[in-house]
Subunit: 344 residues, 2 copies
């Protein structure tokens, strides 16, 4: 194809479908024909205008596709391979770039010169074609379908929670908020040996959490929420509380639910400042609060391939690329919406 | 002596000097004749009424003394030994007590049944005599004088900062606030191989910080504070920021000064809730926030004995026990005030 279609966000809450000329790739890049893209909370926040980034922008950072064009640095065997790609374009992603202090320190996801696919200064995968550095791609295993592969990026983010917040087998892990990301975190924590307690205000989500690894569930509206968690945790509080509510109320509740010397793992990026944080309790109880973001793709691919998680039921609906805006509008009420980016 | 003198806090801002009958000790306790006690920030906060605890109470948890009476569980050689003692009276401190869930989990300083010497339900060392569990005592080495030994408890708290917040040799550690505790943290961090940057609004404190291990200092009133720290840290931010300001403004400033994947080590227990905490930045930059409190006495004794810190210049003044209230009133403006608890 000489031209390809993209869904471009030109201003908050306004997407246009347009044709672009096929992009030229550098020697260290590849061009991917996108099969499916997934809609994530960040896409919704950017679409709404809550999460501010330079526009216009083609959103979409969870995707699978097929390599259709390669630069000189790639082996010809790559053509036709089913792949996904890391979302951070860093100093390590490019052959000739001098490393920045963050990349030198071994922190490429915090690269000072990075662009982020579909989020910051790099057009994403709500498009027929997407261009990425070849060093960022990961080949899908035979066990992962094109639809399932869309979950690799969010699953990596779920795994990253526990890369930075280690726990022991049998530990009590509370997952506060079991939506799009929280449900994956339940499954990962359970597979790593935790005893998972899911908390949500939605009965439906709690029912689903049971299928995805939670051994117990508590309704978030329960007035005895804190004492119920204490009762389930030997009177001490949870070993780990994952704050994945996407709400400003999650932070302080998490601090009340965790045990002395326990961990509050933060995942929400709602952009809202938190009030009334109890600094003194954090010190006296020696609590650790750990933020985490993008994770290891290779581990997510291994986990998906192992079939320890049945990911398909989390797909709510599939829309064609032309209906991306409609899909973004209903996404907040759904778990995972996919965009089918090429008809053939 | 059949009777002994104590300084008893009977209500906020009111101390009376009184005589008490010598206490009976249990088989697992010892009686210590106190030489010197130190005044710490917690004592000041309790005296003022900001930090609320059950009263009446004899304050004082930093002290040295001499064992004058022992229970049946102790060896007779203990009599006459120069000692200090841990401040948490936990399940592990007593011979016959059944362990609580925290002590079972190896977290005795978070014991659910604990009393805390001079802080919570256990009379402390602003007194001629103090009773403690024998398991809590530590014998002073010959290198540590009675006056220097008073610093063992706060030095253990300074060391605990880095027990829970590990760093690498050469890492940039910002100490935000270099008062009573912060100055000890500078020295400990420097001795552990950190490159220490001290921040304070007081020129005098910054000058002193240079003597206690800071290689660089920045005035806290400097408008370019954040960019100066970035400049000193390769544009990334500090590897560790220790928040020991004792002020509500420290928390959010610390988050601005730390690098991605860095650590904010919290030490302040001012009891004030923090506003406008940037949850999203903590997640995106994958920051760790770690509270810490009481630390390992044995390490503090080794550090003091090694003479790597010249602790004596930190003693501002010494008051007799009868003038405890006067001492508490001027303590906020001083570094370390000692109380001489026995004249002979």
């Amino acid at each position: 194809m000489e031209f390809f279609t993209v869904a471009s966000l030109i201003e908050p809450k306004k997407i246009i479908i347009k044709e672009l000329k096929k992009p030229k790739i550098e020697s260290d890049e590849v061009l991917i024909k996108v099969n499916y893209s997934g809609i994530c909370g960040t896409d919704i926040a950017i679409y709404k205008g809550d999460y501010k980034v330079p526009l216009p922008l083609v959103l979409g950072h969870e995707f699978t596709g097929e390599v259709v064009e390669i630069g000189e640095d790639s082996e010809p065997e790559l053509i036709g391979k089913r792949v996904t790609a890391e979302i951070n374009n860093t100093c390590l992603s490019y052959t000739k770039r001098i490393k920045c202090p963050a990349c030198r320190k071994g922190l490429p996801t915090h690269c000072l010169k990075r662009t982020v696919l579909g989020i910051m200064k790099a057009d994403g995968a709500f498009a027929q074609l997407v261009k990425v550095p070849v060093k960022n791609i990961h080949i899908l295993t035979d066990e992962i379908s094109d639809k399932e592969g869309v979950f690799i990026e969010p699953l990596a983010a779920a795994i990253q929670t526990f890369e930075l917040s280690k726990f022991e087998i049998g530990d009590k892990v509370v997952v506060l908020g079991v939506g799009r990301l929280g449900i994956l975190i339940c499954s990962v924590a359970n597979s790593m040996g935790a005893d998972v307690i899911a908390i949500s205000r939605s009965k439906e989500k709690l029912k689903r959490a049971k299928k995805y690894g939670a051994s117990k569930t508590i309704n978030g509206n329960d007035k005895n929420l804190i004492s119920k968690v204490k009762k389930l945790t030997d009177g001490l509080g949870a070993d780990v509380v994952v704050e994945s509510t996407g709400s400003k109320l999650g932070f302080n509740l998490a601090i009340k639910l965790v045990r002395p010397r326990g961990i509050v793992a933060l995942k929400s990026t709602h952009g809202i400042l938190i009030k009334d944080v109890d600094n003194t309790k954090i010190v006296v109880d020696e609590i650790k609060i750990q933020g985490s973001r993008c994770g290891p793709f290779s581990k997510a691919i291994d986990f998906l391939s192992s079939k320890k998680i049945d990911i398909k039921p989390l797909i709510s609906e599939i829309f064609p690329l032309e209906q991306t805006e409609k899909a973004l509008k209903i996404a907040p009420q759904k778990t995972k919406i996919l965009i089918k980016c090429n008809l053939h």
